[in-house]
């Protein structure tokens, strides 16, 4: 009786595809903005329903497997984005974020489905909090990444003196720069908290020395990148391209940490 979960997952991914197309079309044609938002809300609604049923079926938070984590991460990103659009009306950001959310879902699609797997041992309360906080942090940092990419595009167009599509549609450099900064301000404390809880728990449960777990090592590296970004910005007054490159690098590391480290290097982390 779990085929409906598979169907709903497929439907969610399909709606994200539709919504991504709608946002891209809106970017090019500068119309159909409301329709794009409507598809986004629909996709998010279907996503939320699926997530709810998944939790109901599994009887644990959706954080136990790579599939669950990616599915939840896409949900966090979309939730953040829709709130952001509600607050600022900047639909352009959707054109850059929806493909990322879609990518997360597609990647989730190739991983084993949790409802087909055998029962998993219950994780401790602290592991769940650790995962939840880290996931929320990743969501915010994904948004910062999208803002940084938009910044780099706009900066490039301004330098190349190409005043067509991207120059016209993208917001000002200052707006994009401070957006990225704000998302890091909101994601960084979550990331820090996730790492602290995780490593404290690792000490207690496994008695591992600090940084011996690969995931922990890369997470601390990730933390350093964002710390460097914030430090350079606040103390040295870094603005613009270099700061944006740091955020792109940070996101790359985050993706590496999320996907590669789990699959090949770490035994204790499923994601």
């Amino acid at each position: 009786m779990t085929s409906y979960l598979g169907f709903l997952f497929g439907l969610t991914a399909f709606l994200y595809l539709v919504s991504t197309s709608a946002y891209v079309a809106h970017f090019y044609l500068r119309q159909g903005g409301r329709a794009a938002t409507a598809t986004g809300i629909l996709a998010f609604g279907c996503h939320t329903l699926t997530l709810g049923l998944l939790v109901f079926h599994l009887r644990h938070p959706p954080l136990y497997s790579g599939f669950e984590a990616l599915f939840s991460l896409a949900w966090v990103v979309m939730l953040n984005y829709l709130l952001f659009e509600l607050l600022t009306g900047l639909r352009v950001a959707g054109t850059f974020l929806l493909p990322l959310a879609l990518l997360f879902l597609v990647y989730a699609g190739v991983l084993p489905r949790p409802w087909e797997a055998a029962g998993v041992p219950l994780a401790s309360y602290w592991v769940l909090v650790h995962s939840l906080v880290a996931l929320a942090g990743y969501g915010a940092l994904t948004l910062a990444f999208a803002a940084a990419v938009m910044y780099l595009l706009q900066e490039r167009k301004l330098r190349q003196k190409d005043f067509h599509l991207f120059y016209q549609r993208l917001p000002s450099l200052d707006t994009l720069d401070s957006l990225a900064y704000r998302f890091v301000l909101y994601g960084f404390p979550l990331l820090s908290l996730g790492i602290v809880i995780g490593s404290l728990w690792a000490r207690q449960a496994w008695g591992l020395p600090f940084l011996r777990e690969p995931k922990e090592f890369f997470s601390v590296l990730l933390w350093l990148v964002y710390a460097a970004y914030l430090g350079a910005r606040v103390l040295l007054g870094w603005r613009g391209r270099r700061a944006a490159y740091l955020l792109v690098g940070g996101f790359g590391l985050m993706v590496f940490n999320f996907f590669v480290v789990n699959l090949f290097l770490s035994r204790r982390h499923v994601f």
Partner: protein, 428 residues
């Protein structure tokens, strides 16, 4: 009822003739009175700007409005109607509506999508309205035209980007700094274009203006105009470190702002973005300065590229605007056609009331024993019955008259109820 347009614009008439055939605002009330006294013309409105002079008129069907107005216009301006004729264009009914809606939306303007014309259309409407030369038709027409123009400006981006070089500089500055509220502007030299750009920037609410000139007195004088601060020529480098926006237009033969100067300034300002517009010919700013991190350097050719790209963008938006105009014209057309139903409905109501009154009289005659109160109730009930029966046909005939086969419905309506509204008296 027919709507008629007679006019000329930048598309049909050279500028000096346009000037000769235009009307000053003070003359317009007199013109409107004269137009409305022409035989058969019931409503008139006149738009006269430096780019267009257009007469909008409403008259009974069959009145030779064009000839009348053309002759009036030629006479008033002392030109031969034969000479004036080829420079004008005319339209009737829905073509008039479409033309005015396009004009109000800036689609017929010399600079596509400009918004000034919308205000001018509104002014023409207000003036005619105050003067009493508008009736139901032109009033509705101008009301809808202004609404259409507003809708086009709010639903499309047709008027949003810069189409002059000096505004392009402001637009670029906004693409870098977002709001210009906290921005300091440095003006180097004193060219005309720099002056215009500086004024646009001031309108955008910049924080401070610095003026740097080889002759300090000139700098002081300019600074007073912009309520800014004069800077001695030796302090140019330091000012570069302070300002976010630099506009340079000196007459110097060599580079005034060199790569070294910019590098030094950027270090000083901790690489916060610096936007430099070099309007001077020959150039004031060493081109290599444009490749320094966070320096955005543009010259006059680049600004022209911005304008070209923006005009393309406006053309794309114009397609959307045309769709809105078409939609609004259809809306007006439905209303316009439904007005033909008004006299029919009135005559149907009169006929029904007449029948009711006669039959009541006969009834009361046959039943003399009725009390006043009973008579009142009977009269009230019959009125209610008549109204209830007529309600659907009157609502529906208005609706159908506004549709595609409106005339067929109107004809059927008058045949079915045997109505002759023309004989009942003067109808609007």
């Amino acid at each position: 009822m027919q709507l008629v347009l007679l006019g000329l614009s930048h598309k049909t008439t050279p500028v000096e003739l346009r000037g000769r055939l235009a009307w000053a605002a003070g003359e317009i009330p007199g013109v409107l009175s004269a137009l409305c006294s022409l035989p058969g013309i019931e409503e008139s409105c006149l738009i006269s700007t430096c780019n267009r002079t257009e007469f909008y008129l409403a008259s009974e069907d069959g009145v030779p409005v064009l000839e009348l107005v053309l002759r009036f216009w030629a006479e008033a301006k002392g030109v031969d109607p034969e000479e004036l004729g080829p420079h004008t264009y005319s339209a009737s009914d829905m073509a008039v509506v479409q033309h005015l809606f396009r004009v109000a939306s800036g689609l017929d303007s010399m600079i596509l999508g400009e918004t000034q014309i919308l205000g001018q259309v509104r002014d023409a409407w207000m003036l005619a309205s105050e003067h009493g030369s508008l009736g139901k038709y032109l009033h509705a027409l101008f009301n809808q035209a202004v609404a259409c123009g507003k809708r086009v400006h709010s639903e499309t981006a047709i008027s949003q980007n810069a189409v002059s070089v000096s505004y392009a500089a402001v637009e670029l500055a906004k693409k870098i700094f977002g709001s210009l509220k906290g921005v300091t502007v440095l003006i180097v030299g004193a060219g005309k274009m720099a002056d215009l750009t500086a004024r646009h920037l001031l309108d955008s609410g910049v924080r401070e203006v610095l003026v740097c000139n080889r002759t300090y007195e000139r700098a002081v004088e300019l600074a007073r105009q912009y309520s800014g601060r004069a800077v001695p020529w030796e302090d140019l480098g330091r000012s570069l470190g302070e300002a976010e926006v630099v506009i340079s237009s000196t007459g110097a033969p060599g580079y005034v702002i060199t790569l070294d100067l910019v590098r030094e300034a950027m270090r000083h300002r901790r690489y916060r973005p610096l936007f430099i517009v070099d309007i001077a010919v020959p150039q004031d700013v060493e081109p290599a300065a444009g490749s320094v991190e966070n320096v955005f350097l543009y010259n006059i050719d680049d600004l022209e590229q911005v304008v070209l790209a923006n005009l393309e963008e406006r053309k794309r938006e114009a397609q959307k605007a045309e769709r809105i105009v078409a939609e609004e014209v259809r809306g007006f057309q439905a209303w316009f056609r439904s007005q033909d139903a008004v006299p029919l409905i009135r005559s149907l109501r009169e006929k029904a009331e007449e029948i009711r009154r006669k039959e009541l009289e006969r009834l009361f005659h046959r039943l003399p024993g009725l009390t006043d109160r009973e008579r009142e109730i009977i009269a009230g009930t019959t009125a209610l019955i008549v109204n209830k029966i007529l309600n659907d046909p009157t609502v529906k005939v208005k609706e159908f008259a506004g549709g595609e086969d409106g005339e067929v419905y109107l004809r059927a309506f008058s045949l079915l109820f045997n109505l002759n509204p023309g004989e009942k008296g003067p109808e609007g």
